[in-house]
Structure formats: C-alpha cells, structure tokens
C-alpha cells in the first residue's frame, strides 16, 4: 500500500532553533530519507516552504479569491511530506516513528486512495 506521511510542526518554535541544532535536525532528515530509499520504501518526499509563503485559493460566486496565508490557523503547520510504499499500517507506523518530525511535532499517516479501490472489480 502507498501511504502519505504528512509532517506537521510548530513553525514558530522551529524558527527559533539554534543553528547547531538545526544542522543536527537537517542531518537526521538526510539519514532518514537515505534509509527510506535504501529499503525501497521511498516514493517521494519534499520539504515545504513556511506558511508565510502560502497562498490559499477558493472560488465563490464565480470569483477567484486568493488569500495570503494558510487555509486554517492551527498550532502546528504542514511542513513537508513523504510518500512511501509499505506492506501495512504497522510498517507505515514504524517508518513514521523513525521520522525526525515524530519527536518535534506530529506525523499524520494517510493511505493513498488507489484507483483500484473505487473501480468496482468485474
């Protein structure tokens, strides 16, 4: 199964991280990504720019509203993602727990809705 690991962090707190610790964190992410790739679980993964670079778009009454900032104000913000291949939720939970973000924020796990899941089998 394919799973999305959504990384949520307290952006403001992370912005105040001392340089040395930030470098350590960055190295930890590097090692984690490498481990995912070596084991064949890695499908994709990126870090997102902070929410100050976010633009939200929605259409109401035929008008396109462009909003400066994220859709919802939350304590933690989406900061990046990994997409992985895992046999089941247990394997996915193992990977999520190894992600450095699991110790600084929250890793939300969502299964990908595969095409095969909503195409009725004949």
């Amino acid at each position: 199964m394919r799973y999305m690991l959504l990384i949520n962090n307290d952006e403001a707190a992370l912005a105040n991280t001392p340089v040395e610790k930030a470098q350590q964190m960055s190295a930890a992410y590097g090692a984690y990504t490498e481990a995912l790739k070596k084991s064949g679980a890695w499908l994709a993964g990126e870090r997102l720019r902070p929410t100050q670079a976010t633009t939200s778009v929605r259409i109401a009454d035929g008008k396109t509203n462009v909003i400066d900032g994220p859709y919802a104000d939350t304590k933690e913000q989406l900061a990046g993602f990994y997409m992985i291949e895992a046999a089941d939720i247990d394997t996915a939970i193992d990977w999520a727990a190894r992600c450095p973000a699991a110790s600084t924020g929250t890793v939300e796990l969502r299964p990908i809705w595969e095409m095969a899941d909503y195409m009725p089998k004949k």
């Binding site: 199964m1 046999a87 089941d88 939720i89 247990d90 299964p111 089998k121």
Partner: protein, 414 residues
C-alpha cells in the same frame, strides 16, 4: 423441569458461532474486508442459529455454512445483484476453502482477526464490541445493549472500525515477539471489557449482559489455548474464572448485595475455582509477572478462605503493592488502601486514600466514596462517614448495592 433441550440449543448455538467466527476470520484475513466476509455468511449463519438446535450440529459445520451461503447467494443473485464484495468472497470460498476442507480442517485464524480488531489504530472503546461481532457474530443491537449504547451509535462505530481495518491497511497477523506484549494487552483488555460488562449485572436479570460474561470467558479460553505460553493470557482466564466462580454468592436469596468478605463460600463454584488456581499456577511458573496474574492472585487469596477459613490480608496487601507499581490506577489504589486498613488499621487505610484526594476522576467514582465511608465509620467519624455514604449512594447504578449502602448509612445514625 428437563433442561436438556436448553443445553442442546446452547451447544448448537456455540458451534454455529465457532464455525462462523472461523470462516469470517479466514476470509477477512485474505481480503482485509471484514464487512464483506460477514455479508457473505450472514444468511447462512442465521440459518444455522435457527436450524442446528433442532437438527443437531452437522459433521462439518464450516462446510455446511459455506454450502448454504453459496445456495442462498444464487437465490439472491436471481432476485437482485447483491454486493460485489460478497460475491467475490463466495468465489474465494468455493475455490479455496472447500478444497481445503475436504482433507483438513480450516486453519483457525481467529487470533489474527482479534489482533486486527484490537490494533492500536482502532479506537480502544470499540475493540471489544468489534471482537464480539466478528468472532462471535453478535449483532450491533445485542452488543449495544450490553455496552449501554444505542444500537444506531454502536452500529456506526462498528461500521467505521471495519472500514478502518480495510482502508488503513491493518494487518491480520499475530505480532512478533518484540511487540507481542503490548498488542496482546489490547486483545486481553478487550476481552476483559466484554467480561466486565457482563459481570456488572450480578443478579443476572439481563440475559444479554450475563451472556457477555460467558462470551468473555469463551474468548479468554480461545486465546489461552492459541497462546498457551503467554502467562498473561492464562492470568486473564484465571482471573475471569475466579470471578465467575463467585457469581452465585454475590446476592443473598432476597437479592441483596453481599460483600466479598461476607460471602458464603459454600455457594462458590469450586470446580471453576480449582481450574482458575491451576491456570494461575501454570502462568506463575513461566516467571513473567503481569497485571492479570496479580489480579488473579488477589482473587486466589480471597477464594483461599474456603480452605483456611480466614482471609490473608497481608498477602493481598503485598499483591496490591506489586500491582500498584506496574499498573497504578485509582481502582488499584483504592483496593490497596482497603488492604492497608485490614492489615495496619483504619487510620493507615484512610491515609492511603487521602493521598489520592487530588485526583478529579475520583469525584464520580463510587468505590472511592464507599471505601472512604466504611473507614470513617470504623473510626467513629460519623458526620464525615454519612457524607461519604451519600456520595457513594448517589453514584451507584445497581439497586442492590444502593440498598446495601443505605443500610450501612442508616446503621450509622441510629
């Protein structure tokens, strides 16, 4: 009156549930789709529950269920197109299961199904209901009444949980050694929750709830037989059997509550107590102590009164000390305080209770107020004791226990 038809009916029903659970588990383990597995077998299971008590249990119960499921499905397809998943399952059954059953029994995958139902990704409160439905085939309404919920609410929770098993990719497997302990705890906890729901109806007036205690024991026996080297699985079964052995003694002929220390031990089921004792001995010999073994040991110490004529409070106190150090909870703390009162006196017991005073959860917890009232009464603190009894009476939902507390309170002010 002759109770044989009743016994035959119960035996047939147990066999139907056993075969049904094995088939649901076998199918679901292959597709992760619990709802579709249940769907495929629903009609056949209903037919078995209706027919087997009259005709007796067929020689190959699982093959019987499958054959009926296939025939019914053909009828249903003629009338309307039923769920795709249900049909797929029946194809699976036809091709694999029946071939397998000609020369050997269907492999028992119920344990795997139980581990899926009690997975950490499933909300704790729905794990026991889910096990009761998938393994034993109880409908949502029966389970809802046992857990004091509306059938609609229970139905929704069960549907959602089954959806989660399929969609989040919860595996059907017995966890590996390293993580077995924690996962087994969740399975045992769910079984104990089912048992406790049934146990909380001591008068046995509500048949469905009393059945739940029986089903809890049945599931406990199943897990203990499938994992015979897990001391906690044996410990839980022992604990449930000790409790069940005392069922008849919990009420006097007038239906009034009898506290454990005052129960007539001639009314205890000695065969069950002996079995519980033997299980606990086997578990203890494995050398890995745990919550259920300790709780069973407390029960054992209480039940030992049938032989020694007295309750060994010192041993009980030590067991609660150990229990408190590995699984501290308000319930354990209160029972420990009671044991301290029995060994060191009411003042020490009360002191142990007062230490808990800050825990807000205790405000609505009847046993805390009842224990406190009893100890205050022993110390002659009349007005405080009356106050505590009032709190306990107001929090009790069992009328027999309420009457008991009211009598104690009345005795105090006379």
């Amino acid at each position: 009156m002759d109770s044989r038809p009743e016994i035959a009916r119960a035996a047939a029903e147990a066999a139907a549930r056993q075969s049904y659970g094995k088939l649901v588990a076998w199918l679901a383990a292959r597709t992760r789709d619990v709802a579709a597995a249940e769907d495929a077998l629903a009609d056949a299971f209903a037919a078995a529950l209706e027919r087997w008590p009259r005709t007796g249990v067929p020689e190959k119960p699982e093959a019987w269920l499958l054959a009926v499921a296939r025939r019914r499905r053909v009828d249903a397809v003629r009338r309307r197109l039923t769920s795709e998943a249900g049909r797929d399952h029946l194809k699976l059954i036809a091709e694999e299961a029946e071939a397998r059953m000609t020369d050997e029994d269907l492999p028992d995958e119920r344990l795997r199904l139980m581990f899926a139902c009690a997975h950490p990704a499933i909300e704790p409160g729905v794990r026991a209901p889910l096990i009761l439905q998938t393994i034993l085939g109880f409908d949502a309404a029966t389970i809802a009444s046992a857990f004091l919920l509306s059938p609609a609410t229970m139905g929704q929770r069960l549907v959602r949980a089954k959806g989660r098993i399929r969609e989040t990719g919860i595996p059907f497997r017995v966890p590996e050694r390293t993580e077995l302990g924690e996962r087994l705890d969740a399975v045992l906890e769910a079984i104990y929750a089912a048992f406790a729901e049934g146990w909380s109806d001591p008068a046995g007036t509500e048949t469905r709830r009393r059945n739940l205690a029986t089903e809890g024991i049945w599931l406990g026996r199943l897990v203990a037989s499938l994992l015979p080297d897990e001391p906690e699985a044996l410990g839980l079964l022992s604990l449930m059997l000790f409790a069940e052995a005392r069922r008849a003694a919990r009420r006097d002929p007038a239906g009034d509550y009898v506290p454990l220390a005052e129960q007539d031990h001639a009314l205890w089921d000695h065969a069950l107590a002996d079995e519980a004792e033997a299980l606990l001995g086997r578990a203890a010999a494995m050398g890995a102590i745990g919550r259920y073994q300790l709780e069973a040991a407390v029960q054992s110490a209480h039940v030992a009164r049938r032989l020694s004529g007295r309750t060994d409070w010192m041993a009980i106190r030590e067991l609660y000390d150990a229990l408190f150090s590995i699984a501290a909870s308000p319930v354990v703390a209160i029972n420990r305080a009671v044991a301290i009162a029995e060994t060191e006196g009411a003042v020490a017991g009360l002191a142990a209770l007062y230490v808990l005073g800050d825990d807000r959860r205790l405000d609505g917890y009847q046993p805390y107020w009842a224990a406190r009232a009893g100890l205050l009464a022993r110390l002659g603190q009349q007005s405080q004791a009356v106050e505590a009894y009032d709190r306990a009476i107001g929090l009790e939902r069992d009328p027999a226990v309420r009457r008991f507390l009211q009598a104690r309170r009345t005795a105090l002010i006379q």
